[in-house]
């Protein structure tokens, strides 16, 4: 299993400065939640997010990931709000305690379009952005190097931990640990699996912190970066514009303009 969703390709979207993509993602999410109109959210998905994925050559991955992550939520949402919306008045059909109401379906559409925008936007960012580069450029923009250390090294440790968890699982099964049966029995299996993993983690930590101190990790001096991420003026302007639009949409929303 790969740690992140990133796909290394060559495209205009991939070449954008990671911070620009992050700001774009956050601004779009804020705008979608501020404007509260379902067709605005769907419009942004159809005319901005999906084309961006197609241009970057990650459209296929985006489709399969959204089917896996988004579709179950949207189905539950439509069933839940479509059938059980006690506040609804315009009843379309009735099945015992469940009532299909127009209000419920509209509510599901509103929430669903926002969740779709949130998930798809984040996925496009993750599919087209190298996490290491994102951390480097965020550090250049003033984020603490400690933060980028924690995030980058976690992404590197996870596959090793997954392998370790799998071997612990196999080793304990070889000693007779049973994972079948009722939930209570399976819950009993947790401790023999978790404790070796956690105990191993402490050994890791000790080695790491010694190595980090030896390399001046906590030195207050300004840290320089090995990789310099290009950041053209056009993108800087674009970022401030996006932030301005997002802030404006929040202000307008709080003033009640979109109601």
């Amino acid at each position: 299993m790969t740690t992140t969703l990133y796909e290394d390709r060559e495209s205009a979207i991939h070449r954008l400065n990671p911070v620009t993509k992050l700001v774009a993602m956050l601004s779009i999410i804020i705008i979608v939640f501020a404007v509260q109109i379902w067709w605005v959210a769907l419009g942004i998905v159809v005319f901005i997010v999906v084309p961006a994925a197609v241009v970057s050559g990650t459209g296929g991955r985006l489709l399969s990931l959204s089917l896996k992550l988004l579709l179950p939520i949207l189905i539950v949402l439509v069933l839940l709000q479509g059938l059980f919306f006690p506040e609804g008045t315009t009843v379309l059909a009735e099945f015992g305690p469940a009532r299909v109401t127009v209000e419920g379906l509209m509510f599901a559409l509103g929430i669903g379009s926002r969740i779709a925008a949130l998930v798809l936007c984040s996925l496009v960012l993750l599919l087209t952005t190298n996490p290491a580069l994102l951390m480097t450029s965020l550090t250049e923009k003033g984020m603490s190097p400690k933060m980028s250390y924690v995030i980058s090294s976690t992404l590197q440790i996870i596959p090793a931990f997954q392998t370790r968890a799998q071997s612990i699982l196999l080793a304990q099964q070889a000693r007779g640990l049973r994972l079948k049966g009722n939930p209570l029995r399976r819950a009993g299996a947790i401790l023999p699996l978790v404790s070796p993993l956690v105990l191993g983690m402490f050994t890791d930590v000790e080695e790491r912190s010694t190595a980090m101190e030896a390399r001046g990790f906590s030195s207050p001096a300004t840290h320089t970066s090995f990789v310099v991420v290009p950041d053209p003026v056009g993108q800087k302007i674009a970022r401030w514009l996006l932030i301005a639009v997002a802030v404006a949409s929040v202000v307008l929303s709080l003033l009640g303009v979109f109601k």
Binding site: L69, L74, L83, M143, T154, I157, I158, Q162, A165, V198
Partner: protein, 302 residues
């Protein structure tokens, strides 16, 4: 992260202010969502509430994460990535062997107990960031819940809830209830109650008997979170008791607040003798204490 800050050496006042603002934003967001909800909900639309939920909770979590990271010494920073990896791997393991509980906060609670509420908050926030980056972006809006769990685990340790074996599950119960209360507005206002198949069915059942959406997601959370946290805290206390006390007392937070009671008094018994810490900290490992403003390198006093 549009909120940028200067990377100068840790500034104690600024960090405290960031954490305080973050906490106030989170509490204000929660109060607004719970108290200000009925009027908007009557019309069946609460876009305003979703906006406030997503901005308030994310902003609060980011402020707390940014404020805490500067305060933590290198030993703690090195602990955070492995703790996050434990959260994610055990969470996946629990799902893969078909357990009905999440078990995705073992690392967060462990860090909270060993290194304090600030470290717990950071581990929680970043766990959801990493979960969002690797498994599903749906975890991101729930970052605030993980922050609260980490903070509560830290204060549970500080208040001595890990000195006795039977007190830890009680701390877990309280943490679970608070976690359910904090996360229910996210489930209701951002996800419309649809956070997963099983959860959705439970929310539907509460809705069918006429509860509001927020009440339904709160009840659903109260059915699953407290149980999950009781089990997680129990697992953590079992693991911690199995560790050699020399190991546990390596953490300045453990020594300062006597998290494990008398067992850890070997290393540095009381707060009064802490001024001589630089010496034994160097022996234990390079570290400052949880509230130290200078990063990592403790300066000898006196």
């Amino acid at each position: 992260m549009s909120t940028s800050h200067t990377p100068v050496e840790a500034n104690k006042v600024r960090n405290r202010v960031l954490i305080a603002i973050g906490a106030v934003v989170i509490i204000a967001t929660y109060l607004y969502l719970v108290l200000g909800q009925p009027s908007e909900f009557a019309e069946g639309d609460f876009g305003q509430a979703s906006l406030i939920a997503i901005i308030g909770y994310l902003l609060g979590s980011v402020l707390i994460a940014v404020g805490t990271i500067h305060r933590l010494p290198t030993t703690t920073i090195a602990l955070v990535p492995v703790a996050i990896a434990v959260n994610i791997v055990v969470g996946q393991l629990s799902a893969s062997i078909g357990l009905p509980i999440y078990l995705d906060s073992i690392g967060t609670i462990l860090v909270g107990v060993l290194a304090g509420p600030a470290a717990g908050a950071l581990t929680g926030a970043l766990t959801n960031v990493i979960w969002g980056m690797t498994i599903s972006p749906i975890a991101l809006p729930f970052a605030v819940t993980a922050v609260v769990i980490g903070v509560m685990a830290g204060y549970a340790g500080r208040l001595g809830m890990f000195r006795r074996f039977y007190l830890a599950p009680i701390a877990g119960l309280i943490t679970g209830i608070v976690a359910a209360l904090v996360s229910s507005p996210i489930a209701a206002f951002i996800f419309g109650g649809a956070t997963g198949g099983g959860n959705g069915a439970i929310v539907a059942a509460f809705r069918a008997v006429g509860n509001s959406l927020l009440a339904s997601t709160t009840f659903q959370g109260l059915l699953s979170d407290p149980l999950d946290k009781v089990i997680t805290f129990t697992i953590v206390v079992i693991i911690l008791f199995a560790l050699p006390s020399r190991f546990r007392s390596r953490f300045p937070f453990v020594r300062e607040y006597n998290v494990f009671g008398k067992q850890s008094e070997l290393a540095a018994p009381t707060r009064a003798t802490r001024t001589g810490e630089a010496g034994d900290a160097a022996a234990a490992s390079t570290s400052g204490d949880d509230s130290a403003s200078t990063d990592g390198t403790p300066t000898p006093k006196g």
